[in-house]
Amino acid sequence: MNGLLRLYPAAWRDRYLDEVSDLLAERPPSLRDRFDLVAGAADAWIHPQVAAKPSEEDESIMRPVGAAALFVIGGVLWIAGGVVQATAPYGVEGYKESNGVMIVIAGVLLTAVGAVGRAWSAHASPAFRRCAKAMLGFALVMLAPWPILIIGFYGYVVAVVGFGLLLAGSGRLAGLLLAIGALVATSFNTENTMAFAAVPLGLAWIAVGAVGAVRRRSMNPAPAGT
């Protein structure tokens, strides 16, 4: 499959992928054609002309709107935690002192639960499930005392990068924001204003949740080959 066709919604690809792939094999795309495909993908998301098949409706253990709510609330907590921590006064030891980290951990747990809930479907790819399970596992590790919780934090962030890239690879562009947000979050530091690095990931989770709530169908990347 031409990589640009992955940018299109799953329902569009189900309907047109074979034809367009054949066309592109017959006539390799010029640079202008590539831009045209990207614009076409944006149009297909904004003005969908192809309805999703009933089989694509939710089959996960968690309803799309439930997971979307967890992603949005979790994203808000990521932002709130980062802002609270970054704007807290410096204590006597020269570090920021607040409960912002606890708020971030709550955001980590909610988003991880949402991810597992959405990924636990017969149609989800094994890689997607693994990322979701890793997120939840590392989120639980974050409940351990310092410094073990750091392992949980970085493990969670790496798993979110994978989760986001899998979403992006299956045409959910918000997944790309999630992967980028998670990479930025690796700079998160509770001791100074770098706690603001939590904000982009929070915004990305809200974007993923908003897309899921609007579309209200499975956001699970299908197994390879479909």
Partner: protein
């Protein structure tokens, strides 16, 4: 329902080209693309082509036939033919007005 193509926004012009192409018989995407390029001198991009095909199909102006390998031909429906006639009927007057204002004629 005979919805004017102008409602298709930026896909209106490509859609007209596609309908004209299919008025000559069923064609698949690549054949439409080359036919339009021969008619207009400029190719339709693949994203534009399938954006327009999806809109035309959804509005019942064209219909997809059974795939031949991975190619799926499309053909004009009766509604599509009616719509195309209505669109083309406007063009001579439009052309005449333009040429008159330029001081030319239709030859």
């Amino acid at each position: 329902m005979n919805e004017p193509l102008s409602q298709l926004g930026r896909f209106a012009e490509p859609s007209l080209y596609i309908l004209v192409s299919l008025s000559g018989g069923p064609r698949h995407g690549y054949a439409i693309m080359t036919d339009v390029e021969e008619m207009t001198g400029s190719p339709l991009g693949p994203g534009t082509l399938y954006g327009a095909l999806a809109r035309l199909e959804r509005r019942g102006l064209i219909e997809a036939l059974e795939p031949e390998d991975r190619r799926r031909p499309y053909r004009l429906t009766a509604l599509g033919a009616t719509t195309l006639r209505a669109q083309l009927a406007h063009l001579p007057g439009f052309l005449r007005t333009g040429l008159e204002r330029l001081g030319g004629d239709l030859g």
